[in-house]
Amino acid sequence: MTPPLVMHGVGKRFRRRWALRDCTLAIPERAIVGLAGPNGAGKSTLLGLTVGLFAPTEGRIDVLGRDPRRRQDVLADVGYVARDAPLYRTFTVRDTIEFARATNPGWDESIASEFLTRLSADDRVSTLSAGERARLALAVALGKRPALLLLDEPFARLDPLAAREFLQLLMDGVSELEATVVIASHVVADIERVSDHIVLLSEGHVRLEGSVEELLSSHRLLTGAARPLGRIPGVQEIVRERHSGRQMTLLARLNGRVVDPSWSVDEIGLEDLLLAYMAPERLPGPTAPEKGRLRWHG
């Protein structure tokens, strides 16, 4: 099967600023993709390009085998919830569902209704809580029975409890539909739990892409005495280095085994890995030695 979302050298410029550049990726079918990156990294732009809200300045996009700009009908198979889940504020819940039915020929009432059990049909959208609103928007997106579901910062306004509940609903719906999902979030912890594939953006570029399994197995923390760094056998790239006293810790991408006994080699968690990649290129100057768990984002 062809990947549901493919990008080749995609760039998008708004006026003079490039929001996304040289973006090449292929999302495998039925993956749950965490689209990570700090604010302004280009996550919303990437999703907007995928649903044809923007035209790419350069490059080629392929959504379910079609160009979303030329073939807008591809949107029948793509569910999209934009940031802050925009809905018509004056509509009631019933109106919103009616709108979705009217604008989607393949509308599936049964899927949507699972999300609406605790919503009153006559409530206006403007009176809903952030969590209820997110549920309603997700109901509309899933009622289309999409093959590809794109969620832009779905947790941004949810409290932790609502976020967990939302995620549960989402996962239930997705497994029923066998859809591919892309969840954009700047909060790594939110996507870490569910993602099996990661795309990490930073300053408009893809910094990291791959399955979680492959990323975790190819990265290691090396700790040892501070020293001038040369080539370390087994290390492909040093992503970050940090000094604390006489110790230094490296986050390294490996292409083999590190056999040098002067390094102690540890595994790294996904959240720490992503945060390390998201941190600015130049880390701030020496800081006091940290106690407890070593983190890579401060």
Partner: protein
């Protein structure tokens, strides 16, 4: 999509309906006395070109009694602009302003179909309402149209086929302004300015040329025979047809007054005559059809531009 259009624009439709009912009532209340007076004073026998004696007094009395109402009715030319400003301009601008286009345009219905369906359904509603309104005005102005005609702009522009054409044009103009400016308030302002500019330009520059005007040269004052025509120019010419400037005319009249001669007779004695160019009243429906055609064509061009703009720079 019909449901979507209805749901999003039902308030506007209801306000429009209420407006029509209100205007119909106002027309009934102010129009019936006008018709009664018209019947009572047998004004139909005063219609040009046959005019019985005493008609000038009766007609003048009728005009002074009801003229102010007709003057007020001229403000109906603003109604199409309101359609553009409050139905057309927010159609896209509000979606873009509130970000709901990211919701509406990512459903299965394509953006082009969404825009075309909504705009065309609204255009249909606007056309029907405008036709009803136009019929009301035609009934209401009938006594006056008999006397003064409906060819000059004050009558021409608030009845007949041009009313729906103006309204649909204003609608399309508003939609395009909203797509281009993305802000309701800016789109509303631009719609008003552009609508007035285009309407004036067509009325001043194009309409007099829909057909070549008729010319007539006559002695003395402008006769009542042309009361129902649209007089485009009315000037004094000398015996060989050269135009006489207003300054010379004033001088001649002053001269006559000082010499205690009737100015009109004096002008006649100089061999000066009036040259009229006018569009005759019989051209009303032809001109209506041409002008309506022009504005419907404008509207179609604007709609095509909007679709193109939306495809090119969608958000």
């Amino acid at each position: 999509m019909a449901w979507v259009t209805w749901r999003q624009h039902r308030h506007q439709l209801l306000i429009g309906l209420a407006l029509i009912v209100g205007l119909a009532l106002a027309a009934l209340i102010t129009g019936l006395p006008m018709r009664t007076a018209y019947q009572r004073e047998a004004l139909s026998s005063c219609l040009p070109p046959t005019a019985r004696s005493g008609c000038d007094i009766i007609v003048r009395h009728f005009q002074s009694e009801f003229g102010s109402r007709v003057d007020i009715a001229r403000y109906l030319i603003l109604l199409p602009a309101l359609v553009g400003m409050f139905v057309g301009a927010p159609l896209l601008a509000r979606e873009l302003e509130q970000g709901t286009h990211r919701f509406a345009w990512t459903q299965s219905v394509t953006r082009r179909r969404w825009l075309l369906t909504k705009t065309l359904l609204l255009a249909l509603a606007v056309t029907l309402s405008a036709l009803v309104l136009s019929a009301i005005v035609m009934w209401w102005r009938q006594p006056f149209d008999g006397l003064e005609g409906r060819m000059s702009p004050s009558g021409f522009e608030i009845q007949g086929l041009v009313v729906p054409a103006y309204a649909v044009f204003a609608l399309a103009l508003g939609v395009l302004a909203g797509a281009a400016l993305r802000r309701s308030l800016a789109a509303i302002s631009l719609t008003l300015v552009a609508f007035v500019a285009v309407r004036l330009a067509v009325a001043k520059l194009l309409r007099p040329r829909y057909d070549s005007p008729e010319h007539e040269t006559m002695a003395g004052l402008v006769p009542g025979a042309h009361a129902r025509d649209w007089v485009l120019s009315n000037s004094l010419v000398d015996a060989v047809g050269r135009q006489i400037s207003a300054g010379r005319e004033d001088l001649a009249i002053l001269h006559a007054q000082q010499a205690r001669i009737d100015p009109q007779e004096y002008l006649l004695s100089l061999g000066w005559r009036r040259a009229l160019s006018f569009q005759p009243a019989e051209q009303f429906w032809t001109f209506q059809a041409i002008e309506a055609g022009i504005f419907f064509a404008f509207a179609a061009a604007l709609l095509v531009t909007t679709v193109w703009l939306l495809q090119r720079s969608p958000s």
